[in-house]
Symmetry: C2
Subunit: 191 residues, 2 copies
């Protein structure tokens, strides 16, 4: 998605060799006009999939998912990061290791809002090591729902998550795939 790649080149900042700060338009301040374009692009790529629910994870996935859901005419469910004990039986739960924050947390979704009748598109802002996405896929599996695929805004393609998940036969569409990045050289995309 050229508009997005240009925006990353223009307003993104690389710290070290693996932190890409896009907090001026994607995950702290949020450019909702850009989100509309992102949503329309996800809809174009997954238009043949009969998506009736979008699943994301708090916090920074929520805005993108809600704007994108307007193109799919379906509701969004966001998985919650929980550090408390959950009431057994009421939620699907999985464990996710955050490399960014150096800890493991439980991620939960109420059983009321995900089930075998759902055809789910997962949406998230970043894909790197793939831990969050694998957690969301696990929740979809637990619910007996069908997974249409995952729509990712920025994939760090030099990290292993995307390849590992695609190798399982899961469709992962990333709108900007970063091949390499550095403070000096900036961001280089796949293709």
């Amino acid at each position: 998605m050229e508009l997005l790649k240009r925006r990353i080149q223009q307003d993104g900042t690389v710290k070290g060799n693996d932190v890409l700060k896009v907090d001026s338009f994607l995950n702290h301040q949020m450019d909702v006009a850009l989100f509309q374009e992102i949503g329309a692009e996800f809809q174009r790529r997954f238009s043949d999939c009969g998506v009736n629910k979008i699943l994301t994870i708090e916090a920074s996935g929520i805005g993108i998912a809600c704007v994108a859901a307007q193109s799919f005419h379906c509701p969004v469910v966001f998985a919650k990061k929980s550090q408390s004990k959950n009431i057994a039986g009421e939620v699907y739960a999985t464990r996710v290791e955050s490399f960014t924050h150096g800890r493991v947390y439980d991620v939960i979704v109420s059983k009321k809002f995900l089930g075998p009748e759902d055809r789910v598109l997962i949406i998230d802002d970043f894909l790197a090591n793939g831990a969050a996405l694998e957690g969301l896929i696990d929740l979809v599996d637990q619910a007996g729902a069908q997974l249409a695929g995952a729509g990712i805004v920025i994939e760090k393609a030099f990290q292993p998550g995307g390849d590992r998940i695609r190798a399982r036969g899961i469709r992962v569409e990333a709108l900007a795939r970063v091949k390499a990045m550095s403070e000096e050289g900036g961001v280089e995309f796949v293709d």
Copy 2:
């Protein structure tokens, strides 16, 4: 907002005398078509205010704020709940006591994304004791930004937050104001 009140009556659940569960359409599963109507109503009520930025707080305010921001043609900034020490100087920070979760947390916004040039509308899903909203107002004040007001989806008008904040001269527009509620009697609205 009649559409919203009907939806609360229909799909909301009261637990005890002060918990209103609206997680099937507002803050876990999210009905983005309803959010569009909510956003249009906020825009109608604050159309004369020159709003150029919407401020909300993670997590459940983000979806509403992003959809509403499309009606205002402005970006959203979401305040982050932080339990870690922050780098002094880079963020505005305030402390918020959560009655729901029984703890106090820091709420932060990067100084890059809020400043004297901003005319801010705060958007959140609930207003009850007012602690979160007062924290967001404090961040706006610290930034030297102008506050247009606060757009709230559901106000528990039987709790003191709304009255206390309005008494400071701050414009608070709540789309559904709950006067009283109970498991037996359901939800009764102001007006």
